[in-house]
């Protein structure tokens, strides 16, 4: 895209090349940023509305009905306008610097993780070979914003929330990492695009149906992911019935809404991650786009439409994940902090470790997954092969052994 | 003066950043009285060293890429990161123990060396 802008700037605006190149890069970067920021911001608008509607329905209410027509779909926008106009309050005893900077830390971390998140083959902010790892790592910074907010507020409720968050982080990170390793191990790469493309074809090519161990791993992953984005039943840092509002008790207006955007942003993020790692990413249950030939080989436009459909597919899957999280939130009571640590460390970690071992043995003895073992044929003849870099890596190593 | 932005950087520039972080860490360790501040100084020192390892391991930061450490640089940096995490955990446990026993986190007060 940068080249496109650069050539156009030179041709039509008649800029010198020395100016056009940096300007082209900046414009291209701006467009990428704007697109991704829209995913976070518009996504948050939609999901907050969804949360209110689902919560209403679960509690036998209607939820928002007035703003923006029958379904109240503009409710979040109205709330946002209200939040912008609210006064930005800060407690007198608070640490002004930390208090001010904490919401930005949370939001930036949540947003930065989108950098490496692909939405279709090749549609990614920055193609990273270690995308899975990078996303998990950057999500880890988000808790730092929560902790700083809790400490900087100089309020005991906030501090309690921050302490709980810190205790929760060290407990969920271990099983979450273990769960992510399982699909990475099957795919043989940490590149999310390669992982997504590897699950093309019929629905049984999805990694969740790869073998029984990955099936269980997904549920552990989902539990830990819920804990990592501070959603009920793991929303101890917030715990509105115990700690007023936990770490963001003292926040108001726009700063508060940054925490909210960060929360919904990372909720969508882990859902997309789950969709790519376990549910085939941008590949549908039946490879319709491939059957009717919507891919790069039939021209750029066909590839574009195919990618667009794939992205829609991915977003639908991820929205389903978010909906399940909302459903869980309004159905289950909150755990106590010791119960959270017990769940994560005493149950999820051993289960995830066993599943890791099981999946490792499975791909060693039954390569190709459950369905390949059952001789289920794929109409399009997809066979799961190791990632190119893994193959390249394995060859010389074999040679050395001989 | 040549425009810095148009010149390629090399190992030297990375080493300069590493040196600044290293010295910051040393000064931090020497001047902080809070035990956890000293710990942060150690993290800075280890990171300054890590920058050098990574820079020397990079394939394109030297004129002669055959001179680079290659993968060894990255592997050693990994070990440094892991050991730093382990060191932080133990040092933190010691600091918390010190705090529990002496109701202070000031390292200047830790001068008795007995249980």
């Amino acid at each position: 895209m940068a080249e496109f802008f650069t050539t156009n700037l030179i041709e039509y605006v008649s800029l010198s090349e020395a100016w056009a190149t940096p300007l082209g890069y900046i414009l291209a970067a701006m467009i990428h940023i704007a697109l991704l920021l829209n995913v976070v911001a518009v996504g948050a608008l939609g999901f907050i509305w969804l949360e209110r509607k689902v919560a209403g329905r679960i509690q036998d209410r209607l939820g928002p009905t007035r703003v923006g027509g029958r379904f109240g779909w503009l409710q979040t926008l109205a709330d946002g306008l209200k939040l912008i106009t609210k006064e930005d309050l800060m407690p007198a005893a608070a640490d002004p610097f930390l208090f001010r900077v904490a919401p930005y830390v949370a939001f930036c971390a949540s947003f930065a993780a989108y950098l490496a998140l692909p939405f279709a083959t090749g549609w990614v902010g920055q193609h990273l070979n270690v995308a899975v790892f990078f996303i998990l790592a950057v999500l880890g910074i988000e808790v730092f914003g929560v902790i700083l907010a809790g400490y900087g507020s100089a309020s005991k409720w906030s501090l309690f929330g921050a302490m709980r968050e810190a205790a929760q982080v060290v407990s969920y990170e271990v099983p979450l990492g273990l769960c992510v390793i399982v699909p990475v191990m099957i795919a043989g790469t940490m590149d999310l695009i390669a992982i997504g493309d590897m699950q093309a074809g019929m629905v049984w090519n999805w990694f969740i149906f790869h073998d029984p161990f990955t099936f269980i791993t997904f549920w552990v992953f989902f539990t830990c992911a819920t804990a990592s984005v501070n959603r009920a039943p793991f929303d101890l840092a917030e715990a509105e019935s115990e700690l007023v509002a936990g770490f963001h008790t003292e926040y108001s207006g726009l700063r508060w809404s940054f925490f909210f955007m960060a929360e919904y942003g990372s909720m969508f993020l882990v859902s997309v991650l789950a969709a790519i790692l376990f549910f085939g990413g941008w590949n549908g249950p039946i490879p319709i786009t491939e059957i009717i030939g919507l891919n790069e080989t039939n021209g750029a436009l066909a590839g574009y439409v195919g990618n667009l459909l794939g992205m829609t597919n991915l977003i639908i899957k991820a929205s389903l994940g978010v909906t399940v999280m909302i459903w869980v939130r309004w159905s289950f009571p909150r755990l106590r902090i010791d119960q959270v640590i017990t769940t994560c460390l005493k149950y999820c970690t051993p289960i995830a470790a066993m599943m890791f071992l099981g999946a490792a043995l499975w791909i060693l003895y039954l390569p190709g997954g459950l369905w390949a073992t059952l001789r289920l044929s794929d109409p399009l003849g997809h066979t799961r092969e190791a990632a190119p870099d893994q193959q390249a890596a394995a060859m010389p190593a074999d040679g050395e052994r001989e | 003066m040549t425009n810095l932005l148009t010149q390629p950087v090399g190992v030297s520039h990375y080493m300069a950043v590493g040196a600044v972080m290293f010295v910051c860490g040393i000064v931090c360790m020497a001047t902080k009285r809070n035990a956890l501040g000293v710990l942060m100084g150690i993290e800075l020192v280890l990171n300054g060293a890590n920058i050098n390892f990574i820079a020397f391991g990079s394939a394109y930061l030297q004129k002669d890429s055959a001179m680079s450490l290659g993968l060894d640089g990255q592997l050693i940096a990994l070990f440094v990161i892991v050991l730093a995490a382990a060191e932080a955990a133990v040092a933190l446990a010691i600091a918390l123990n010190f705090y529990n026993n002496h109701h202070s986190i000031d390292v200047d007060r830790a001068d008795e060396l007995k249980g």
């Binding site: 790592a137 982080v169 040679g399 | 932005l5 390629p8 993290e43 800075l44 990574i54 394939a59 940096a77």
Partner: protein, 193 residues
């Protein structure tokens, strides 16, 4: 005007972040702010790692240092952050001594860094090409180094894993919940402040 070297541009950005925040760690006396600046400094360092082509180590840096170690550290800070320990002032003598030693060290290190001509400029044009380091690092840790004829790092890897286990047990043992000593008159440590 010459072409802007984007590698240099992002290097300067990350380097500026790393150095500035490292200096702020030194000159801030508030322990929680120090932790925050340290996080920013370490994240900028991760940016430098990405620029030098070590993407796996960079992600590892963010994950372990920023996500793990710093959360641990902040946890410790919050456990001990009583009013009188948040900002411990250092005497001017210590400061001047540290500045003297640090300045001398910095001068030596900088002179060393720029002493070799081969190190001054690299061929950063190929920096954009991504190469997979994760697989090679993984195989290297398991003892298979196919890029060079040397043996890998299996033994250090095993030693480190045992070391981590020992550290885990040791830290848990050291920090286990004990009866806290009550501040009382017979404890000289409490009387003196």
């Amino acid at each position: 005007m010459d072409q802007i070297n984007w590698h240099t541009f992002f290097f300067l950005l990350s380097a500026l972040g790393a150095c500035t925040f490292a200096l702020m760690v030194v000159f801030t006396s508030n322990i929680v702010r120090m932790a925050f600046f340290l996080v920013l400094s370490l994240t900028s360092t991760a940016g430098l790692f990405f620029l030098a082509g070590a993407d796996f180590v960079g992600a590892m840096q963010i994950m372990i240092y920023v996500g793990g170690t710093m959360v641990l550290l902040v946890f410790g800070v919050m456990l001990t952050a009583q009013e009188r320990f948040v900002s411990l002032k250092t005497s001017g003598g210590t400061w001047s001594l540290a500045a003297l030693a640090g300045g001398a060290l910095l001068a030596v290190l900088l002179q060393t860094a720029f002493s070799v001509d081969d190190w001054k400029a690299g061929d950063t044009a190929q920096a954009g090409q991504s190469q997979t380091t994760a697989t090679r690092i993984g195989l290297g840790l398991l003892g298979a180094r196919f890029d060079e004829g040397t043996s890998g790092y299996l033994l250090p890897f095993e030693i480190v894993s045992i070391h981590l286990l020992v550290v885990l047990i040791g830290a848990a043992y050291l920090a286990r919940a004990k009866r806290r000593a009550k501040p009382s008159a017979d404890n000289p440590a409490d009387r003196s402040d």
